[in-house]
């Protein structure tokens, strides 16, 4: 936190030349030991010897300073205003802060309507267009504070640069973010961890044979399967190698996104409590999107059909996982809404 300042710096030329006795104290700032020492107390004459010595120590790097509680007196006597003194000028507002303030203003002018989770996800699935959800997440993330941590700033940056079109990575980011919020994960840092880890969770596959990556996952066995299972570790390796500053919980989420509640996941076969909820959410959403896009079985599916299969505890290849009770409940809510829509039609 920034300390409240006790002094402000001035230049020697700012002192009135016609006056020899000042109603304020003069201090000298020593840059070497970062300290302020009294040089001339108020109502004492600035005689020629003192003046020449002051000039000498200023030439050696000392800085003249006035106590902040005598600011008004100093300005009156010298006939100056705050803007004339560079040290009193307001610090420039960072462009990221200006940008954030602008987004907040825009959102205040036209606030986002409250999210009807099941309905809006259903609409996106049925129209096969996730752009409104992606755009919503982008707007929300752009209002995140820029003063918290590097991961939060990075999440904002990724959202601004990348959440602009409808593709599988952006779908996964938007759905994971909304699912996380639905499951009471809140606060800038936890949500930013999720945004960053979702963008980067599959980055490790660029380090593996592309022909193998494009083959349906259920057709990979033996060595190929074990190679594929290296991708969370490779993502972590790539992030560390490139010195990308990410929170440890974000890195853990990436590493654990294939862990499953039942202990059937990888790389560490973690179970239930040992897996962070964010990893379970990311793992389930990523798997649903991958399954629907055909990356798991080679056949494309409507996301609603995938959700239905999970809800019915289908034992189809590639869906034999336990995503955990809480995530299953969310999926159930969306599926129930779909059924209601169908009945209404």
């Amino acid at each position: 936190m920034e300390e409240k300042r006790s002094f402000f710096h001035i230049q020697f030329e700012m002192l009135p030349k016609s006056v020899e006795i000042f109603p304020f104290h003069l201090y000298v700032y020593n840059q070497v030991n970062n300290s302020y020492s009294p040089y001339l107390y108020g109502n004492s004459p600035l005689i020629e010897e003192k003046k020449s010595f002051l000039k000498y120590i200023i030439s050696k790097g000392a800085i003249l300073a006035i106590p902040i509680n005598q600011k008004r007196t100093f300005l009156n006597v010298c006939g100056l205003s705050e803007s004339d003194i560079p040290d009193l000028a307001r610090p420039k507002i960072h462009k990221l802060q200006i940008e954030r303030d602008q987004y907040i203003k825009e959102l205040e002018a036209s606030p986002l309507p409250p999210l009807n989770f099941a309905k809006e996800i259903n609409d996106a699935i049925n129209r096969n267009c996730f752009l409104p959800l992606i755009e919503r997440v982008r707007k929300e993330v752009l209002t995140f504070k820029v003063t918290i941590s590097h991961t939060v700033s990075l999440a904002r940056y990724f959202a601004r640069q990348l959440l602009i079109d409808d593709n599988n990575i952006n779908r996964t980011v938007a759905l994971t973010y909304l699912f996380a919020k639905q499951n009471n994960i809140d606060g800038y840092e936890p949500l930013s961890d999720i945004i960053c880890s979702t963008f980067l969770h599959h980055i490790g596959v660029t380090q593996l044979d592309r022909a193998m990556i494009l083959r349906p996952e259920v057709e990979c066995h033996g060595q190929e399967k074990s190679d594929f299972q290296k991708h969370p570790g490779l993502a972590q390796h790539l992030i560390k190698k490139c010195k990308l500053e990410l929170s440890s919980s974000s890195i853990d989420t990436i590493l654990d996104h294939h862990e499953r509640s039942s202990g059937s996941g990888y790389p560490y076969q973690k179970m239930e409590r040992a897996i962070h909820p964010a990893s379970l959410i990311l793992g389930s959403i990523s798997h649903i999107i991958d399954y629907a896009s055909g990356r798991i079985t080679g056949s494309k599916y409507n996301i609603n059909d995938v959700l239905k299969k999970i809800q019915n505890h289908s034992i189809d290849a590639g869906l034999e996982f336990d995503f955990g009770d809480t995530i299953s409940k969310n999926i159930e809510n969306i599926s129930r809404f779909t059924d209601e829509l169908k009945r209404a039609a």
Partner: protein, 225 residues
């Protein structure tokens, strides 16, 4: 209907899930309140925002390898003004094959043939990423990034900078080039070579087992006699 065991497990999970969430959220909110408004933290993405669109293409079956490499090359040119060349390497013939050559696509003044003939032997020898001017003070620079799979060379990425490059961008060039590894691995595996760290192929494994069996039998017999 759920079995008693199922109910117990689900309840435990649900409670754990909520406990963990509450703890995390409380901790994070407390940290957020302590932060001053004045210290803006600018993001240093290390170029990952350029890698994510490449990943998107990478996972899309309809996009072929050539287009991904071309896109990578264009990203390097657009953001860092570097002319990238990616070559795959055939370990059997010790030859490079051109995958993407920035000089030809961008039609630069410098001719690819000249660069190739001047540096080919250096690229063959390279086993570590190298900058021709590691102080980043020179008016031109060249980054050579050999792609290795275990001890095998599978390719090399070279980025030519014909103007000064800032040192802070050097990591980002490496990140972008790294995205070509999967494609070079595919090429290398298609040529029948596979490095150690991804394990031996099932065919080689069988051969090794056979050899072990033969020697084991031989020494076994000698020992017995």
């Amino acid at each position: 209907m759920s079995t008693p065991e199922k109910i117990r497990r689900d309840d435990t999970h649900s409670k754990d899930f909520k406990d963990q969430l509450n703890q995390t959220s409380k901790l994070k909110l407390a940290e957020e309140e302590d932060t001053s408004d004045n210290d803006v933290i600018g993001p240093d993405s290390k170029g990952f925002e350029h890698l994510i669109p490449i990943l998107n293409m990478y996972l899309n079956k309809e996009v072929n390898n050539e287009n991904i490499l071309l896109f990578t090359m264009k990203q390097i040119y657009q953001h860092y003004n570097g002319v990238a060349v990616i070559l795959s390497y055939n370990n059997t013939t010790n030859d490079f094959a051109e995958e993407v050559v920035g000089h030809n696509v961008l039609q630069t003044e410098k001719k690819w043939e000249d660069e190739f003939n001047t540096h080919i032997e250096d690229w063959k020898r390279a086993t570590l990423p190298t900058w021709s001017d590691s102080s980043f003070q020179a008016s031109s620079n060249q980054f050579v990034y050999p792609f290795m799979e275990g001890a095998n060379k599978i390719g090399v990425g070279i980025v030519f900078f014909y103007s000064k490059l800032e040192e802070k961008n050097s990591n980002q060039i490496e990140v972008l080039l790294e995205s070509s590894r999967g494609i070079l691995l595919e090429k290398s595996h298609n040529l029948g070579t596979k490095g150690k760290y991804l394990g031996t192929s099932s065919k080689n494994k069988k051969d090794n087992e056979k050899k072990e069996g033969f020697f084991a039998t031989l020494f076994g017999k000698l020992k017995a006699s």
